[in-house]
């Protein structure tokens, strides 16, 4: 009973967040404020603007796709080939697995490892700072005595 109640609350909260996000991002005012327009999409427009640069780069960096992808939302160029371009001229992700996926997975793992290392280092540094500047018990006792 307790578990069902908890599950209901969690699902309800998730649905509430989902509905809130849907309502927010469907709102034209919020869309324009964020630079998201349904006609092109900000990444689409970015792709349109920098298509040539990424098209050239896409041939060199396999995880960005191999060119001719279409930017998200309709912009031309291969700017987001990593997700949208597959180098087969239509820029859509395929229904079948691609061998370049392994390289992509390696990229994801690498990004995750770097970010995690930064966080772990910051936490350890924070703890060290905390220990370093924490007033010792002896000093506290002296302060109380004074």
């Amino acid at each position: 009973m307790k578990t069902i109640f908890r599950l209901t609350v969690i699902v309800f909260v998730m649905l509430l967040i989902g509905i809130g996000l849907y309502a927010a991002f469907q709102n034209p005012t919020i869309q324009s404020q964020l630079g998201l327009t349904s006609a092109f999409g900000w990444r689409g427009r970015a792709a349109e603007g920098t298509g040539e640069l990424f098209l050239r780069e896409s041939g060199e960096q396999a995880w960005r796709g191999t060119g001719n992808g279409r930017g998200f939302g309709g912009g031309q160029g291969g700017a987001f080939g990593r997700r949208a371009g597959r180098g087969e001229g239509h820029g859509e992700l395929g229904n079948l697995p691609s061998s370049s996926g392994w390289l992509g997975l390696l990229g994801v793992l690498l990004r995750l490892a770097i970010l995690m290392a930064i966080v772990v280092a910051l936490v350890k540094f924070g703890r060290w700072i905390g220990r370093k500047f924490k007033p010792s018990e002896r000093m506290n006792a002296q302060n109380v005595a004074n």
Binding site: G18, Q31, W42, R43, G73, L93, P97, S98, L109, V119
Partner: protein
């Protein structure tokens, strides 16, 4: 419970890694896997209910504590993950069409899906980084120690006890 937690977390982590790279599996598997990930994440939240409630109730009583940072990051991670799921469903090419619902491929949900996936990866990294001590300790306890025990029993019969992971007072219910 710790072992169950650890196995579920490991499963979620591997599934998330695969889901983050749709080219690896193709779109249909990517979509169904992400949906399954959403369900397992709900179970993960259910198992950490006590921790969420404990920290949530006393959030502002001791604001400068690492558990507050964890709570905040987890909340952002949840919102980012829901955005990924929602936008993924709205541009779905496999799940919704299966039920006869046609999706809009050129909508704002596509850039949003990509952006929220990147944010989710960032929050996942922070989430793992903040729980690093527990991850290392649990790995040692359930993976390294049994392996070492297995190897050492081949050479000399010894009894290596598994380490107990340190549990801060406020996080007792989490483990």
């Amino acid at each position: 419970m710790t072992l169950k937690n650890f196995l579920l977390d490991l499963l979620i982590f591997i599934a998330a890694l695969i889901a983050f790279e749709p080219r690896l599996t193709g779109i249909p598997v990517h979509e169904w896997l992400s949906l399954a990930l959403g369900i397992t994440l709900t179970v993960h939240l259910l198992w950490h209910w006590d921790w969420m409630l404990n920290v949530g109730k006393r959030y502002f009583k001791r604001l400068f504590h690492i558990s507050r940072l964890k709570f905040f990051v987890d909340l952002l991670f949840l919102v980012a993950f829901i955005t990924v799921l929602l936008s993924g469903l709205l541009i779905s090419r496999s799940i919704l069409p299966l039920f006869g619902i046609q999706t809009e491929h050129r909508s704002i949900w596509r850039p949003l899906h990509s952006l929220s996936a990147d944010l989710s990866l960032l929050f996942l990294a922070i989430h793992l980084g903040l729980n690093w001590d527990w991850i290392v300790c649990t790995l040692k306890r359930y993976l390294w120690t049994p392996l070492r025990r297995g190897f050492s029993s081949l050479l000399t019969p010894s009894n290596i006890e598994g380490e107990l992971c340190p549990q801060p007072v406020e996080e007792t219910n989490r483990r």
